[in-house]
């Protein structure tokens, strides 16, 4: 009976075995990269808003504090979106007849909210609370990036679980003094590691085991 396989089949079989491992590895690597890509996470993608509001102008140029508009960031889960009245506090006089503000005027006249597009959209199986992060020394720019330099706001980080956990495992790498929470120029290197460890103790930040427990974020 003739041989079914040619002698070269031995090599093909060996190469195939190696290739399966290589291809599976490549595919897995590709998957991890695509899952973290801005295509899937929305990172760095500028959202178009109904009104061309510029944080770069209002924060960077005018120096308005974050909390002037995001009033509830220190007390509730949501940082708070400003009412149209907040816009009108200044724009009743400044640029009052600018076409850029037409929608704001309309919203104010008709008493209907402006429909802003959400930039940071956490999945709803996660629990997130702004106030606890602010109270425990996490500054705005640690998560939101250089908002004072963003004409249109984009998401600075992936908002993926690995990103949350990176900080929950080592919060001492990111905490700041209370006075610097709203400072957009703050760098983590402004404070020595020893000072940050002391701050962590002062804030009574819980252990890594507690902070990475499932039910902290999934409740």
């Amino acid at each position: 009976m003739a041989q079914v396989f040619n002698k070269s089949a031995n090599n093909i079989a060996r190469i195939s075995m190696v290739m399966v491992v290589v291809l599976a590895g490549t595919a897995f690597y590709a998957y991890t990269q695509i899952a973290r890509s801005s295509y899937l996470t929305g990172r760095y993608v500028e959202k178009q808003q109904p009104v061309q509001f510029s944080h770069k102008h209002h924060v960077g140029d005018d120096g308005i504090d974050c909390r002037y508009c995001h009033t509830t960031v220190e007390t509730t889960a949501s940082a708070g979106m400003p009412s149209t009245q907040t816009c009108m506090n200044c724009h009743s006089q400044i640029w009052a007849d600018s076409p850029y503000l037409e929608l704001v005027q309309k919203s104010f006249r008709e008493n209907k909210p402006i429909e802003w597009q959400r930039v940071h959209d956490l999945p709803e199986y996660t629990y997130f609370n702004h106030s606890i992060h602010v109270a425990k020394g996490i500054g705005c720019s640690s998560c939101h990036g250089a908002i004072d330099n963003m004409p249109a706001v984009y998401q600075e980080n992936t908002l993926q679980m690995e990103w949350c956990l990176a900080c929950h495992r080592e919060p001492e790498k990111f905490i700041r003094p209370k006075s610097e929470i709203f400072n957009m120029q703050w760098q983590d290197s402004d404070l020595s590691p020893a000072d940050r460890d002391k701050l962590k103790a002062d804030y009574k930040i819980r252990s890594k085991e507690m902070l990475t427990s499932c039910s902290v974020c999934h409740r």
């Binding site: 005018d62 002037y68 949501s78 909210p113 429909e115 959400r118 709803e124 109270a135």
Partner: protein
């Protein structure tokens, strides 16, 4: 090929699921059918999921019966009281008599209260009134009408209730900040304005006394905004 009825319905179900998935229907937990702050609602006419309190209701423990604390006005204010007004060069209408405003702080004034006031002032007031209250804030430099300075006899002698009332309800071109600043924080800002006035005229003694029966606010809603144990940040 023969398929049993059960197999055929199975294939149909898979096809329907695929079709729904293709149409973008997601049966997952990313977007759950519940309301969070600022979500859009198709149920309410104004499309807002965040609702106001129904008119005439009082949240438990938030009956605002301490008139001095919540309005800055005397017990029986006269709605027909005539106030004297003048007009300054920027076109602001200035009041120079304050018949209904209380003259004493309804809560004890402490260093913490003034510090809290400084913190809040530098968020909400500094934009127009400027760092020391001279009326030269960034928004004024951008074209808003210049507000009057705190550092003249008219406002040095103005009762504290007047400042509280203006913060709450606005005056002239200034909008009211009642929606943004809690009552106790408004008093903290008033205390800080007094401190600013002293800073620019240290030789003059300004009235900063607290009314005899004043107590620290009791209910949580009246306490300074904080997340830990009532301590002011």
């Amino acid at each position: 090929m023969y398929l049993s009825k059960r197999n055929r319905s199975g294939i149909l179900m898979i096809a329907v699921c695929l079709l729904l998935t293709a149409c973008g229907v997601r049966f997952d937990m990313q977007d759950q059918p519940r309301y969070k702050a600022y979500k859009k609602s198709e149920f309410f006419a104004d499309k807002r999921a965040s609702r106001d309190f129904p008119e005439g209701t009082v949240p438990r423990g938030q009956l605002r019966d301490n008139k001095a604390f919540f309005t800055g006005q005397i017990e029986n204010p006269n709605p027909n009281a005539v106030v004297q007004t003048t007009t300054d060069p920027s076109g602001n209408t200035l009041v120079s008599s304050f018949p209904n405003a209380i003259d004493e702080f309804p809560i004890p004034v402490s260093k913490e209260l003034i510090d809290r006031g400084q913190d809040r002032y530098n968020i909400y007031c500094i934009v127009c009134h400027g760092p020391v209250g001279a009326g030269d804030g960034m928004i004024v430099r951008r074209g808003f009408v210049k507000p009057p300075t705190y550092h003249d006899d008219r406002l040095r002698n103005a009762p504290v209730g007047h400042f509280y009332d203006v913060i709450s309800n606005g005056w002239g071109r200034m909008s009211g900040y009642a929606a943004k600043i809690q009552p106790v924080d408004r008093w903290a800002i008033v205390a800080y304005i007094r401190a600013l006035q002293v800073s620019q005229d240290p030789d003059r003694a300004l009235k900063m006394n607290t009314s005899p029966g004043a107590e620290a606010p009791k209910t949580t809603a009246d306490k300074p905004a904080t997340t830990e144990g009532g301590k002011t940040q």
